[in-house]
């Protein structure tokens, strides 16, 4: 278990007693020993705590991979990239689910686009899978050429069968 997750575990329990968990100063206090985190990352982790508070029924085994994935994303996306905070949570939740759902895993290229979305991209041979998360929408695009009408196909990553079918297509 990483130090960061250990800290999150400990502080999450304490945090459940705090009414305004989205208070950034509180979050900063919680994470002030994690010097690698930027202000944006602190905000993102505050959002994580909020989500955990809302889903207190979630077991450790469910939320630990989520936190680990999210923390990884926070570090992967350049600190100066402008990403919606909610997008990071949704994207991390989806990515940790996908990683646990497929047999052959490959790390995506993680970026932020001009619309402040988190973007995951994978390439395999001539095929590419791109997945976009904003704070309230998500989109999946399969790409196998430059013709937008005949060589790209859209889908919804949060429809699990669609996401798994897209992954199977990518890695076939």
């Amino acid at each position: 278990m990483t130090t960061e997750v250990a800290v999150l575990r400990k502080e999450t329990f304490a945090a459940t007693t705090v009414d305004s968990i989205s208070d950034l100063s509180f979050a900063a206090t919680v994470f002030d020993n994690l010097s690698c985190l930027t202000a944006a990352a602190v905000r993102a982790l505050a959002d994580t705590l909020l989500q955990l508070k809302r889903s207190s029924a979630a077991s450790d085994s469910l939320w630990t991979p989520f936190i680990e994935t999210r923390s990884k994303l926070v570090r992967t996306i350049p600190s100066h990239a402008d990403v919606e905070e909610g997008a990071l949570s949704r994207a991390a939740g989806w990515l940790s689910w996908l990683q646990e759902s497929v047999d052959r895993w490959d790390e995506p290229l993680v970026t932020a686009n001009a619309d402040r979305e988190v973007v995951f991209e994978w390439w395999h041979s001539d095929r590419k899978l791109a997945v976009f998360f904003s704070s309230d929408t998500s989109e999946l695009i399969r790409v196998w050429g430059t013709d937008i009408d005949t060589e790209m196909e859209e889908g919804s990553p949060e429809v699990r069968d669609e996401a798994l079918a897209a992954w199977a297509w990518l890695t076939a």
Partner: protein, 148 residues
């Protein structure tokens, strides 16, 4: 005098900022993220090679930046359909048009724009996929510092 129309054979330079992680190396090939071609106004910016003496360093903001190449005719071949708000389908024509930036002295500036304007964001997402793929097919004008 700036040509009113970007010629079909014109090369276009697109800056790939070094610090944004917009590319990856896999199986010996460099792959470009569609994020490298996204723009808040959905008008991807480029510089016309012929108006900056063919010098891609004109497009860099940081010496570590990469500069990717697009060709106007290939950009114009991108055609896209999308759902219209009013129902049915919209057919978009993608063009590269001059957009000289007089304030910053960049007369080579041009933008990639649709006609009509995009009605939904998803169409622009697919356009950026196409732009990334077109750029991948060409050599870098300048490789990003960590690939040199």
């Amino acid at each position: 005098m700036i040509e009113e129309r970007v010629g079909d054979d014109e090369k276009l330079f697109r800056r790939i900022p070094c610090e944004m992680g917009y590319y990856t190396l896999k199986d010996g090939a460099v792959h470009l993220s569609s994020s490298a071609f996204s723009d808040r106004l959905k008008q991807t910016s480029v510089d016309r090679s012929c108006l900056c003496h063919g010098d891609p360093s004109h497009t860099q903001e940081d010496p570590r930046d990469g500069v990717a190449i697009l060709v106007a005719s290939e950009v114009r071949e991108i055609s896209a359909k999308g759902k219209a708000f009013a129902g049915g389908e919209v057919k978009y024509v993608i063009d590269v048009v001059p957009d000289p930036d007089y304030r910053n002295g960049n007369l080579a500036h041009a933008i990639i724009v649709p006609t009509p304007s995009y009605e939904t964001p998803s169409v622009y997402k697919r356009v950026t996929q196409a732009l990334a793929r077109l750029a991948e097919r060409r050599q870098w004008a300048i490789q990003p510092a960590d690939l040199r």
